[in-house]
Point group: C2
Amino acid sequence: MLEGPPLRADAQRNRARILDAAEAVFAEAGPRASTEEVARRAGVAIGTVFRHFPTKDDLLAAIMKRLLAQLVEEAERLDLFAFFRHVVAQAAAKKTVVDLLAGSGVDIRLPEAAGHLEEAVGRLLEQAQAAGAVAAPVRLPEVMALFLSVCQGALHGGWDDQLQARTLAVIFAGLRRD
Amino acid sequence: MLEGPPLRADAQRNRARILDAAEAVFAEAGPRASTEEVARRAGVAIGTVFRHFPTKDDLLAAIMKRLLAQLVEEAERLDLFAFFRHVVAQAAAKKTVVDLLAGSGVDIRLPEAAGHLEEAVGRLLEQAQAAGAVAAPVRLPEVMALFLSVCQGALHGGWDDQLQARTLAVIFAGLRRD
DNA sequence: GAGAATAATGAGTGGAGACTCACTTTGCTA
DNA sequence: TAGCAAAGTGAGTCTCCACTCATTATTCTC
């Protein structure tokens, strides 16, 4: 993570505005939304967006990193089941994360941030297994796979509360007794 | 389903070629692949593609319909668990269906064909419950939700055989004992 | 507060891809 | 097999969008 000299005040302000706008725009319209829309929403010229993020992918990667970090924080506050419920409930509002975790058309790798998430979920799994809430043979890879699958399903399927509860119930039952 | 006069022989031939090419191209590159690539692969001029399918969405809808019909056939040959396994294993090879079932950026509704699939899976569920292989309180909506979720997960996550088996094992356990 | 460095601006460029249409070719029918 | 309607062709249009850069504006430093 190479750090140059500190950013000028206006640059810092704009960078933050752009990230916020990008998060909102991409959450609403998915990663295919245009960079111009982001600039407009941030109240900034298009060139400014590209000064901060030389390519659109850089911008997407930056907000992904923020969102993943947020997920990790949430993982640290909740147990495995609550974490699943929480994230699935939010999936629709976080089109970007889900789409990008899914790699939908856009090529972005964030091994570090994604690794942190996996570690956090790993800790939740250990705790749940120690408490006897998840069967012993369950391993992290399938938990992550289920996690991502369900996020995408919820996002694209437009699940209501009831469907979400019933679907997670099946998965939770499967985790408890494998 | 309005039927005009029958198609001329060359038109029929080309229509079939275009559908085959589109299926292959979109399976490899997803729905974002260009119509020109489809035309090239079909050995046909771009205008011919647009004569048969006035918009790209029409083309996508047409192959979706074929693929859904195929899924229904497979559902009629297999039991619920085998169907899940089969489709998940093929998910990666069928990027289009999955992406479109998921509604990724493209707006296509095929209520009829999708309804048939749901009916077919409904029958599998009934059979499985009658045989005691799936717990009674499980209902069709969550089975469909799990089905679509897992398809997307498998597609985007690039699951290997082992991960696929382990992930499905959790879901199957959840279905058996809810 | 003057000067230098950094940042913002936004019209402009280039490329991709969906779709059109004037013209040519092909298949059907009488 | 002549004639015509159906189908095929592909260069060209149009729109959208990522990205650039010469110019102007804002901060920082002394």
